[in-house]
């Protein structure tokens, strides 16, 4: 092998390094994204456990399907909607703030707000009585 060929091979090897690094990063990103999406999808055979954390066989297959959909280039919204179309809204651990789901968002505000108003009202009433 000539010096020129050897140099060529070394340069080719150096060029391959970033490409391989990019390949590794891509697969890591896929797992991280699948984990993020899977942590927002409810395991159908568990109670309130996301598919990303469930030990059930169904949840594991759902995770594999999420990865497949990511590889197909689907957006987060498209993946969530594909699950909602098959399982219904309950498959989302963080349901959309619409319809009766609004209760989940409004109720804590109502409880805290109502409680605060009640406390302020009581304090003022007592102050008036003591004055």
């Amino acid at each position: 092998m000539t010096v020129r060929k050897k140099t060529g091979l070394v340069l080719l090897g150096l060029l391959m390094v970033p490409l391989l690094a990019c390949g590794g990063k891509k697969s890591e990103d896929l797992d991280a994204r699948a984990k993020r999406l899977g942590s927002q999808l409810r395991c159908p055979v568990c109670r309130g456990v996301p598919i990303a954390d469930s030990p059930s066989g169904l949840a594991a297959e759902m995770m594999n399907e999420v990865k497949e959909q990511i590889r197909q280039g689907k957006t987060d919204e498209e993946i969530f909607q594909a699950y909602v179309a098959r399982y219904g809204e309950w498959v989302l651990l963080k349901p959309e703030a619409k319809g009766s789901n609004l209760l989940i968002w409004i109720l804590p505000v109502l409880v805290v707000g109502g409680g605060a108003v009640g406390i302020i009202y009581e304090i003022r009433k007592r102050n008036k009585v003591s004055a």
């Binding site: 169904l58 759902m62 399982y87 009640g118 009202y121």
Partner: protein, 174 residues
């Protein structure tokens, strides 16, 4: 005091409704697929024969998800065998899709309890996921146009089979 009473009067039903919604079994909810085209599948029977849902169009189809380790599935197996005798001659197709189980277990089950509907193998549970299955047994009734018209989560009873298949084969309730 009256204001607190009013506040509680508004709040308590809301908390009750929220509690009811959050503690309900998702399997009791109506399927998101009702009124929609049944998800397509092309699966293989225990004998290696390919079955495609598209190939069954024009006839009512009953798709049952089951497993040999599921007690209620054994209970409904008897009803499915009876229904096969009555409704298969009327053009109804029955398929039992295996859920988290092995073909070997399914073969042993069928030889022990008698052959029922053709068993389909579902690699990676893809068909179960497409049908929104959240446990077994679950059964879907598909009309001749390929639309899901009814879902049963739990044991399929002879009454439900009769009612649904009468509606699909003759139109109307028996």
């Amino acid at each position: 005091m009256k204001k607190w009473g009013l506040f509680l009067l508004i709040l308590l039903p809301m908390v009750g409704l929220l509690y009811f919604s959050l503690t309900r079994n998702p399997r009791d909810l109506p399927s998101a697929l009702i009124g929609k085209p049944a998800p397509h599948f092309e699966l293989t029977t225990l004998d290696g024969e390919k079955v495609s849902l598209a190939g069954l169009q024009g006839h009512p189809v009953v798709v049952n998800f089951w497993a040999t380790w599921c007690g209620p599935c054994l209970q409904e197996h008897r009803f499915i065998k009876q229904a096969l005798q009555v409704y298969q001659p009327q053009g109804v197709s029955f398929y039992s899709i295996l859920y988290e189980d092995t073909p070997e277990n399914a073969r042993s089950f069928m030889s022990k309890y008698g052959t029922g509907a053709p068993v389909l193998i579902d690699p990676g549970l893809r068909t179960a996921i497409d049908y929104g299955v959240a446990g077994v047994p679950e059964t879907f009734f598909i009309d001749p146009n390929g639309v899901v018209v009814f879902k049963v989560a739990g044991v399929l009873t002879p009454g439900v089979i009769r009612e649904q298949l009468h509606r699909l084969t003759q139109g109307g309730v028996p």
